[in-house]
Symmetry: C2
């Protein structure tokens, strides 16, 4: 705290939240089993927090504000720190800090995804606490809607709005509200891709904001972008998340952009996925970009426009191919490197089939999830709620194993169990027959038959790369046709997350006509120099 002051911080925090600090642990009847003056009664359990707050305020001595972040409810039931006890703590210590900052539960609870928790979900725990102190209070709840923010302030729930994930999606959120540019807000979709960087020790990424984490490294400003480097005409093929972002950012640069979409609808995979249970907020990826495209006179959108190499040659100087990917029907995924045996008469569906309206022929369905992120469990939930008898089989110990990194693992399992999905972990599907699949234990390799009418294979995707290959095959015609570049982006280049697709679309737009051809491979980095310091 002394160092924070030396570094010039305006606000110093005393932290008693997120189940992370000894101050909360002392407060909590769940964690604190002391029998001395720091345990037992709430006054005793709050003693350490009081002392630290008093010492902090004394040391800070007005040079910075002192905030106290505190859990408003531990969400541990009767055993934990309740909302009522926190009210009593605010009653006791309310005037000590300059600011109270409320949150709920541990990080997993506090930063729930939109799939499991609506915007502003912490209001019930925070309402009423403000009245117990004259000091301002701040709270969180994945706020992206200015209306809801205003309502929480005017109704006396909060004085300040806290918004970490919404600020990752749009660092200029407050400015846009201030200016009334509400339609320009790039709203957080609540997917927690940002959080996965923490759990995988990798750089932060944001589905909505491709510049996140690239501000210094690549010099990408969240709002500003260089003007176009030429008068080239650019075609973007495909309007999924990659194509939409490429067209938007190229349009922002001033290029003459044509966005060609084969179907009647913009959005690609996001349009389909946002229609699945719990994922409605994901449509913001499409909504924000179509809204922005509508204002760009230099971007023309062509729907129901399937593009061939023939259509392209002679018309455009640059082609960005964002044609997406297709889910495999052969079982290849993380477990199987080679196609599994599928009987010709077996009823097999892919996620693409289900998302475009197809349904299993019979009631009893095995869904084999070797993708390991969200989609398998989401489709299992969808089918179970439509009264299919669903068994989810996965080679991992958990369902939707990778959602451990979005902090959804427990909720995913709870939700599909509630929906009646049967779960078989630690098994791979090795063959699909009429009337059953063969499942193999990943430890013993013992196999068993699992009866079912239909099978849904959620395993891996292949890029839709026909157009790229067709154009490459006619490479000798490019120069004469004035074609200078063809760049596959997003899932059409490498099937991955929506965040990766948006990033890929942004990157191609940033780098078009870059005078330095090495830029595409380079980024600025911190160079560490070895120095020695005794701490």
């Amino acid at each position: 705290m002394v160092r924070s002051l030396q570094a010039g911080y305006d606000l110093v925090y005393v932290y008693a939240g997120h189940s992370m600090t000894i101050l909360q642990n002392f407060l909590s009847p769940y964690y604190n089993n002391r029998s001395d003056e720091y345990g037992g009664s709430l006054e005793n359990r709050a003693r350490l927090l009081r002392e630290v707050l008093e010492d902090t305020c004394e040391t800070v001595d007005g040079r910075a504000a002192v905030g106290c972040r505190i859990v408003a409810d531990e969400l541990l039931g009767a055993a934990g720190l309740s909302n009522n006890e926190i009210a009593d703590v605010i009653g006791m210590l309310g005037e000590l800090p300059d600011l109270w900052d409320f949150q709920v539960g541990d990080w997993e609870n506090d930063s729930a995804t939109s799939r499991f928790s609506p915007e502003g979900a912490q209001e019930e725990y925070v309402r009423g606490l403000k009245a117990l102190t004259t000091k301002p209070v701040v709270g969180v709840g994945r706020f992206t809607s200015p209306d809801l923010m205003v309502r929480q302030v005017t109704s006396g729930v909060l004085d300040f709005i806290g918004a970490a994930r919404p600020s990752i999606a749009d660092p200029f959120l407050p400015r846009k509200i201030e200016r009334g540019d509400l339609e320009d807000i790039r709203e957080c979709i609540g997917c927690n891709i940002c959080v996965t960087g923490d759990w995988t020790s990798s750089p932060i990424r944001c589905t909505q904001n491709p510049t996140m984490g690239e501000e210094f490294r690549r010099g990408w400003h969240p709002e500003r972008i260089a003007v176009r480097g030429s008068d080239a005409a650019v075609l973007v093929v495909g309007s999924g998340p990659a194509g939409l972002e490429a067209a938007r950012a190229l349009g922002q640069r001033g290029y003459a952009v044509s966005l060609a979409e084969a179907t009647r609808h913009l959005g690609g995979r996001v349009r389909h996925e946002a229609a699945l249970p719990g994922l409605a907020a994901w449509i913001r990826v499409v909504d924000y970009r179509t809204q922005q495209l509508g204002r760009l006179d230099n971007v023309e959108v062509f729907r129901e426009s399937h593009m061939t190499a023939e259509d392209i040659l002679g018309t455009f100087q640059h082609v960005v191919v964002a044609t997406g990917a297709t889910w495999r029907r052969d079982g290849v995924g993380r477990w199987h490197a080679h196609p599994i045996s599928v009987a010709p008469g077996a009823d097999v569906l892919t996620p693409d089939d289900v998302m475009t309206g197809a349904r299993p022929a019979g009631r009893s369905v095995v869904l084999y999830d070797d993708d390991r992120f969200y989609l398998g469990a989401v489709l299992a939930e969808l089918l179970a709620r439509e009264d299919y008898e669903v068994t989810l089989v996965t080679p991992t110990p958990s369902v939707s194993q990778w959602t451990a990194n979005t902090m959804e693992l427990v909720r995913v399992r709870q939700r599909i169990m509630e929906a009646g999905v049967r779960v078989v972990t630690d098994h791979a599907v090795t063959a699909v027959h009429e009337g059953h699949v063969v499942q193999e234990c990943v430890f013993t390799h013992a196999t068993a038959e699992l009866p079912c009418d239909s099978t849904v294979l959620v395993t891996a995707r292949l890029p839709n790369d026909v157009l790229c290959h067709d154009l490459a095959a006619r490479g000798d015609e490019w120069a004469a046709a004035g074609l200078r570049s063809v760049t596959p982006i997003g899932d059409a280049n490498a099937p991955s997350t929506i965040a990766a697709a948006v990033w890929s679309g942004h990157k191609v737009a940033r780098e078009l006509d870059d005078p330095d051809p090495t830029t595409a491979l380079s980024w600025r980095r911190e160079v560490t120099e070895l120095a020695v310091e005794e701490a």
Copy 2:
């Protein structure tokens, strides 16, 4: 590679091993399904490796040696790259690099622990390859025994011995062999604690070598240590891994050390754990240190010497308390913060009971593992092999979840399944009754009765801190008695791994009589300065 030469490296590697590189993936019939000149026949699959080796040798041009690390068998059965195919690859490319470096399977297979794989286990895959090239060959296999190393060289299996983990345990391994100081070798115990740093993004640690990772940070040389800072008499209480290392390192510094052990045997927890299935090599933690202590005239070992505060006051200036920890009998662990209900008549055992010879009263046993590292499954295996009917219940999705970080997770499950242990994952034991336990689903919180005669609770440990508290209570007598410090170390301070205990014992020895009282909290670190570089 060009940069390696610029940096002055003597050896440049082309890597086709550990299932990590495209060179191995191209070689492998499992991963390579190309239909061009880089796929199909072995000659085609080896084409990329050949080209990269040729280009590397041409570029290096004698300025460094070029080694090629290659997988000697992918261990993927008929679908993978077999030992025979690798022999053919060496036949084709054998003279290209200056050195061949063999390993087996992926990292999990290559760096198996001593629990699952003996020293030198790769010999069967490597034997015969040397004859196919005139270039020297190196191989690995957790080699710690000079005899085995010599045999592999003299019998023509290898020219060089590769040893990563053994060099972590003893960086001076080659020097000690060269000098004939074989008894001074600090042999790797094969526990893979070193590997856990990689998987948890934390600093490397070694069970045998506490200086590992501290060479720069704390200035700890693996062999050298400062001479004593005073003529103080030091008592070390307890001869587990922490106490043994403290006594050894204090003895090396020249202090007059008394090591008091309450029982007849040195070794503490290691002596008991090394007697369990698969953990025999762990006794090296004790053997190395008792061997070293035997040479130190200034260290006196007292067995069957239980120490009280009364014994200590007036005799020693410094006391190091290494009295270990005791497994809890109340179910408190990672899942339960408070004791669970245990019926008075229920037959409940702790790991300490089992390791000191006690056995369940009935044949049907529930072992509840909420410790989540190795011990639960090891004890389940022990009891199952003694014909108990064992059900292992754990709140995690996997058995011995933390062994994911030692790369043992799959083998642990396979071994206990082979031993006949029944497994219930994702459930906590919430109560122990006569004739059954209550298990609760961690997702739904639904409870069910699980019948059993006896229960083994493997949950958490509490420090054996009576001596510390007794000495603290008599703090006003210290000065008169000449007592200057009492330091709990190892499990007596904070129950953890054996590696943490050894480190703790080493640290207290390094820091005794340190003239700078802040040293105990400090370490050198790299200070990063922000610089900007275009890559």
